[in-house]
Symmetry: D3
Subunit: 335 residues, 6 copies
């Protein structure tokens, strides 16, 4: 099978153990993750060849981050090591009615300062079938946005499928242009897009029709009309009960609207990367199943499982997902 290639920043995540607050922490647990790298790692675990492309700082922390993704089976051969610092984020894990909290310390990272000329996309993508990126990446710096655009352009030339998680975070866009100026050209090159009604409104000014499910289909239809390359729009819907209790379902529109049942997750072990798990599940499902319904169901179960696994990355097998897709949601001991 040909590779799926992802592009974006990998950060070190530092979190107090259990439910300790930042001020109580005598140790911090180390994980490494990034919205797109998590997709590559999950796919590698599912048996899909995956490569991630990024810029690490040329120091021990960059090496440590890279080695962690190699551990997940991701091809890191196209990564660049230059620059000064690894982006960081500090995560405090909430419980019940106390929210989890993230403190970012990613400004001026090696990735933000990457040189777009470092990446020979024709070479990187030559054995690939799929390129994935997220809306975080072009938000980081002009250089990162430029590299994203380069990757998409080459991917289109080579006939790859391109997917994006638009993932709009207003306060990330600090370097000058607005997301609304940058994102449309990038999304225009995509076949598959993760996009909620809110993001569609904020980024593209698309107003969904009123009403719960119809609103998604309405938005997606408009998005596809605006960007004709898009063939599928997907998203999750959450009924969050508390920091410890999540309910999640998957939505898809490809001309037809499809949704999954809700899956109940209590307790939530680690919610970081739940969206990335959904998207990586959808890529896997698209490559292995005949119907979008199956692919979507695989995606949402994969995402639900992610909520039970510590760290940013969804360490699961396809057999585990498929077992739950058959209705085995009671977590009975497997010997």
């Amino acid at each position: 099978m040909k590779q799926v290639v992802t592009f974006g920043e990998i950060m070190m995540r530092l979190s107090p153990p259990l439910n300790y607050r930042f001020a109580q922490a005598a140790t911090l647990e180390v994980n490494y993750g990034g919205g797109d790298a998590n997709v590559a790692a999950a796919l590698a675990g599912l048996g899909v060849p995956a490569a991630h492309v990024t810029c690490f700082p040329a120091n021990e922390l960059g090496q440590a981050a890279a080695s962690q993704f190699r551990r997940f089976g991701v091809n890191m051969d196209h990564c660049v090591f230059q620059g000064q610092r690894l982006g960081l984020y500090f995560l405090e894990v909430g419980a019940s009615l106390r929210a989890s909290k993230v403190v970012y310390d990613r400004a001026d990272s090696a990735f933000a300062n990457l040189d777009p000329e470092s990446f020979d996309w024709a070479e990187i993508l030559k054995d690939a079938q799929w390129l994935h990126w997220t809306g975080i990446t072009p938000a980081i710096s002009a250089a990162a946005a430029r590299a994203t655009a380069d990757a998409i352009r080459v991917a289109r030339q080579l006939g790859l499928t391109v997917s994006a998680d638009v993932n709009y975070r207003r306060n990330l866009w600090q370097y000058g242009p607005r997301a609304q100026d940058v994102m449309p050209a990038l999304v225009a090159g995509c076949d598959v897009v993760v996009c909620s009604e809110n993001d569609a409104a904020d980024l593209f000014g698309i107003q969904a029709a009123a009403g719960a499910e119809n609103s998604f289909a309405s938005m997606a239809a408009q998005l596809m009309a605006r960007f004709p390359q898009i063939r599928r729009v997907i998203s999750t819907r959450r009924k969050t009960q508390s920091a410890s209790h999540e309910r999640i379902k998957g939505l898809l529109y490809d001309g037809t609207y499809v949704e999954t049942p809700y899956y109940d997750i209590t307790p939530v072990v680690d919610r970081i990367g739940g969206g990335d798990a959904f998207l990586s599940g959808f890529i896997y499902g698209s490559l292995h199943y005949a119907t979008t319904r199956e692919a979507l169901n695989f995606a949402v179960v994969a995402s639900a499982l992610k909520h039970t696994i510590p760290g940013d990355v969804n360490l699961i097998t396809a057999a585990e997902v498929e077992h739950i897709m058959l209705g085995n949601t009671t977590g009975r001991l497997v010997r």
Copy 2:
């Protein structure tokens, strides 16, 4: 803002990690706490200047306990270091239908043997606006009861607000007089009192009228009639589902009866100090809000948050409480 001053014993708490039983523990987690010191620490975290007064043993453990409360921002300058041992308690954390368990080892502590002459209350309270104590303190020893009485007397002379959590524990009163003999004179000097119907009956022989909420108002009205200095009686009501699942609301009577909605807490991370969090929340609320309803709501949300935080002390900010007071109880990730 002028200081809130609290007085009482600080103990070292030793607990097996996670849900291990005492006999399984190869390590014990260390926390320090006390019903009144926890109030000072929570207030300091909320930005209210707070000082705690106690007697520590003159050894490394006393120093360690003091430094921990300095960490919380509490002024410990009036603490005395004399005597032999730090009071201890061992806590085993239950789950589901298995109760948490406390084994006390506090007899003959430095605090129990304190010299009431060590504390120059006029000096200690000169810059204060509020004095808080709990019913645990006069239960420990005649000396502790004497010091409590001294503090209340001086506080009244200086015009401070005085609050008490009556917190009656029958088996603590071992040194001679009964709680019923000692507590009335102390409570008589208080403006704000935390008292449940059971404690009112046991300590003061006050029988509430029948009926759920009315019973509290009935009790509180009688209590205020008996002790005319009291202006507000508050309490929490709990619908405990299990060791891991709590529901809590706040009650107040100041002539008018007020209550909050129930807040649901599952899982409970650490229930120790939930009552102290309620009272410290109420002090903060009294100092910052126009209405008792707001103060009470702040108090009960603060208490609910405490159940999600490891240790005896409620490490929260006012912004976190106020966010939940607006109805944001689903613990959505804060970036």
Copy 3:
């Protein structure tokens, strides 16, 4: 009181901390357990003299396993130390809809290669009142099956009560004969049997009548007709909600059908050994209560408590069980 004697393999259990997956584990937590040894350990904790008989490898790991059960108060004087390796199993703890997973590494263990002549059952059982075994043991090897048969024969001769948990696991039976060939003769020597409808059908070809509770009574009546020594058949029924949430009740048939209410367990801390806790609770109850209803209720509450305790062994006191039997299921703090 005379001893309860159990016989079977003790394995080392190795599990990643918290909810980590195998591939994430930098450390593994060590426990030791076995379906029958767990019964002895729980009984010793409840104050019933208990001895366990097994074959450990003659190395440091065998010694470590033995010392752990001595810690629980179990008499290990009749254990044999010979052979090469300690059986192992690796346990990954699931959460919510993700199942826990066991990887066995027990083939060719010292216990599987035991010499049945090593055990002088007349000597071992001379001060005993009860012998307990599980269906795991005769599944391991011909030698283990032979030793089980020897123990039962001598126990009958000496007038002991004999109990068995039939616990049929098809994939364990690898050494030649089928369970269906071996188990009937062993079960024939038992007074008390833990057996579900499924196991009765698989092992003995007994088809229960249709219908929820009647099906158990129907099966048990047939089992008692087939094996006249059996006086009581017991089992648990589970309504598993997820890997983190269990509901459990107890069933008994001794001519009359008895069942307990369901007990709710959320969160589940450690479900391994829940069945062993049920059986040990039933032995304790049989020795201390006048009615089977009380014994059964003790058993199911003991099993529910086990789900809240880390490790294979049910570390509880009778007072803790009896407190819950009185309806105190809310886990209120015990000071």
Copy 4:
């Protein structure tokens, strides 16, 4: 082989991990030990049947302490559970030129308040060959001193060997009589005594002749003259380089003076219990070797090994000691 019986207090030891200071500790490591119980545990590990007699508090901590010594294989059947608190000590582990530090919290323990009538020494010692006690025990309370005297008297009547480690700690003797008043009558009943020149001077007013090794022989000869029951006096001599580096040799006088070479220990992992390891090694050696030289060498190597093992108890095998006695001190990997 007949039992060795030891008598004395078992304390919980609480120590910060690694080289952390008390004020830095977020967790404390739990061990249980006592100068005489450590001897029983080491002997059990060496294959010598050993029982320990003590009084534990009737709570979970007493049970935990007892179970820990059962784990070591010590017979705890004669222990009494009554009273309120378990004696504690806090240990901070030094390094290099920073000394380790102990903070005791053992006053008013269950053991100090024991009832001497609880112990039926004729029954306890009926299958024993040896009784061992230390000078700590009669220092704790009059009751403890009385029980020690009872045990020695009965042991003499039954013809046991009696040993003592005089271990004089001036600041422990708080309950009234001086060590100099109490110890002579107890030591008079002993066959084997661990005693340094300093202790002999302080306790018995015996002044050794000047000069390094002769001073020990001189003291021992006087001691044996004063207490004719004593047949052997032993001790260790230390050339302490730092908290992390120890040099140790063994001395013996039984009419003839014997000494071992120095053994070098760097790093020292845990020095607590080094003296107890020496004495237990000497008991083992006395029971297994023809010459006092061999017994003494076994003792000092056992003590050296103890310095490399975490906790109070010397967890070693005789084969390990004998391997080093042959000159294998380089710690070459054993496969």
Copy 5:
């Protein structure tokens, strides 16, 4: 006693446990430290009132850092909270011939971006007797250098003693001017200076005379001639054996040359902050002893002790230092 005030950046230090390499770390241990803040913390522990002045970021990490220094007893009331990020450094602890390694991530920290106008030095220093700073601070940014100059100027006006550790690190000076341009004016305002021959040569072009000890005196005499305010020049000399074994002595020149014996430290537990411990020890010694020899000896023993204590801060008492000054370097257990 009047306060000692220190000024400079506090960083979060993140280190893999034990001797793990960065790439192996699943957790990082958290400490907070800074060359000048460490001096304040050590002095507070020694009983000297101490305040530290810095600029923290206005987030949870800044709060956590501040609370940690409050724990040490340092007055943090003059700290400012503004800006984005807390400076970090990652520390990998070596052993034997493998060096420890530091990776800095401190660029663009809140401290580097401080506003010099935030600090009202007349107010801050009004109750102080001593101001201390290090050469790290003016290296960070023009703003930090400006604030340092302000502090020194006001301290001189108020008649305080001013001390500096010149601590030249070439690669820190990135913002424009060279150290050689900035430092002389700052050092000119100091009474006590820590300076090695190398730093004197690099910073001030002072060439010491040849020869071991004389070289220091020669350099110091020239330094004092150049900067007449300087009354004492001190330094340590190290004979480093390995990452695990250090030898250290103290040197002083105040017209007369004084040195201490070498102190041997093996193993080294944590060498970070050894120089800060020396300087804080010298401040303590200067305030408490009659002679510079005693002050210097206190300083070097304090520094030696620091090498045995985890973290950046020297958590010691004066009694501990003085015990070793009397020659007790063997680390004998203190009960």
Copy 6:
């Protein structure tokens, strides 16, 4: 650069933390290693492309082991996943005069049962320049010996350099033929051999001439005469002081005798894999330096560094080794 390929078993190593004994361990630390895989991992870290070939069991533990070596940057694409169990070993870490101890549990592993036909050596080695194996591998089973012989034969055909660490362990050879029967034909195909005088005597009957260094040259000359393909014989010589203190130098004979100085390592952090580090260092050195003296010096410094790094694998950079080769052995802090 072309790949170095290694072949052999990878085991899971389980060790109690710090210096705990097996019976004390509540957790075990997990590492993965193998004598030849460690060579591949070290080379990958040094920047030499490296692939390892082995047979893992087809379960989660095999996957975990593989992912760990991917983390080190080793190409694991040629590994086979079939069979039942992963070989294990338990390691207890000694200190001072207490030896470390290994308990093997590797019998009947997936590797022992490998199918030699699974490995297409012509394909595996087609891009390689070097093949390395150890004497452990042919000791495990006839299948493993057969696969080793296949690999060597193909490597010779393709013109690769072949190296072996003969590493004779008598008690490993259990499956029939003796090492003396199997090893000569395998060693005959090698260019570089690690062999001590003892191993040469035991395996090949070669008696070295008397005398310290000459003995090695004498043996090596005979070995090269016997196996003409061998061009270089290397080895280490150890002066082991204790389990915590090692001295090591390197020896080489290629017609000329070369040796390095001794390097002192105290404390030893982890001695497992020290020999593998030597050999991988020698491969690196052979590929990068002009002289065997430099290659040998690189090798022995690399080995010395390994003793300071936890785990089986030598996680170092060439710059770190070269820094020490220049004489910087004092471990001075690197900023």
